[in-house]
Symmetry: C2
Amino acid sequence: MPTTSFLLNIGSRDTITSDEQNALLAMFSHQKSFEAGEVIVFDGSRPHFSLLLVEGMSVRSKVLAGGERQITAVHIPGDFVDLHSFLLKRMDHDVVALTACRLVMAEHAAIRALMRVSEHLTRLLWLTTVIDGAVHREWLVAMGRRSSYSHMAHVFCELFVRLTIVKMTEGLTFNFPISQAQFADVLGLSTVHVNRTLQELRGDDLISWERQVVRIKNWDRLVKAAQFDATYLSLQKEPR
Amino acid sequence: MPTTSFLLNIGSRDTITSDEQNALLAMFSHQKSFEAGEVIVFDGSRPHFSLLLVEGMSVRSKVLAGGERQITAVHIPGDFVDLHSFLLKRMDHDVVALTACRLVMAEHAAIRALMRVSEHLTRLLWLTTVIDGAVHREWLVAMGRRSSYSHMAHVFCELFVRLTIVKMTEGLTFNFPISQAQFADVLGLSTVHVNRTLQELRGDDLISWERQVVRIKNWDRLVKAAQFDATYLSLQKEPR
DNA sequence: CGTCGGGTTGAGTCCATTCAACTTCGGTGG
DNA sequence: CCACCGAAGTTGAATGGACTCAACCCGACG
């Protein structure tokens, strides 16, 4: 089922009936596939559909005039990459595939139709965009007020928790198919400094990262280094 | 009318009928007032209503264990300060009054009622939270990839545009009732560095800032310094 | 008239950047 | 089969941006 991880995603925030599951499923039409490095949604475009990531990883990135790049979000299966375009109409950033990606399409018309059918599902879709915002805020704190060491640790913690929700971790390891240069654009640092900070984390035996596989060597100490508190991810099942 | 600036706010993104205006108005019940410095919404709380700012300015702020503070948003009249709590349920940050503030309350039950009445207004409320997210992303880019000089210029540009929408600018001036220390928490810098960067902007004759009044001395050059592009604020009237 | 919050300045230090070289490794073509 | 190539990672050295700490100024206010 293509939308399994999406159901895991919202299913970890509220209970949904099987009728609701079907209604959600009905919203999606065709699939789309992209190669690593391809742009999935273009800055400035006006899509008439939104895309749910079902396989692979992608990022939202903004590029400045001077060529500097900042990644503002990392998407994993179960994430809508551009649900906000349903309301914003015009994209204000690119969505780029980190790996080969498979996505499913929800026509904006279909989302509108769903709004007519279910108030509850409307709120759950709305919720996903609001959680995006919560993550953005946490990243702002990390960029503004954490050390690069702590910031990096925080990203690993967040990724691990989010990947666990959609069952994409194995024990304390997960796939992280990103180059250090791209990771630098996530953190707002230079590649050189990313490399050195990474070595500190490795040296302190908090993580290892080889051949795209991250292993958390000591979760408790990683959380402590990051001052990570997952409440901003809203992982409570409650009526929304 | 307490909600005038709110109507200006969404009215600059879509056309709303007078029936819709009334429906929106009906959503708000009591007023609440706060002194400068007071916490309007507490981190960790579970409000059963959301607050629309009608007078004054406030910020969203997160505090780390070590006492470091990061401000993730600045609110002006017409902004919902915590509409996301409608879906998040639990606040993941404080909302703090910069000045004396007046707000009006929308019970979450009333928002639900509105959802039942109007699909369109639902989308417009949703839109406001999604624009919040767009602003967060722009701030992430500014923190991660802009110089402090450019970052600061960007904040002034954004504020000026947003304040103009709700008619709170006079010519090229506006009220900005914030200390340099608080401004440092907006930018993720130290107070000393904020002070020096400010002097650069003044020295280049881009702005002045005295007694809480900011004057933009040269809009074009300020925009250029900031590489400011307002499209992320979604200021197009179009059907949403 | 003294105090206090906010702003300004100087000096020294440190974190992070730039630039450049060098390594490692997987892929590719001679 | 191996030599070469390019992308990604690693390292060193020098520079610079931002921080800390500390002092000092100023105006509002009791």
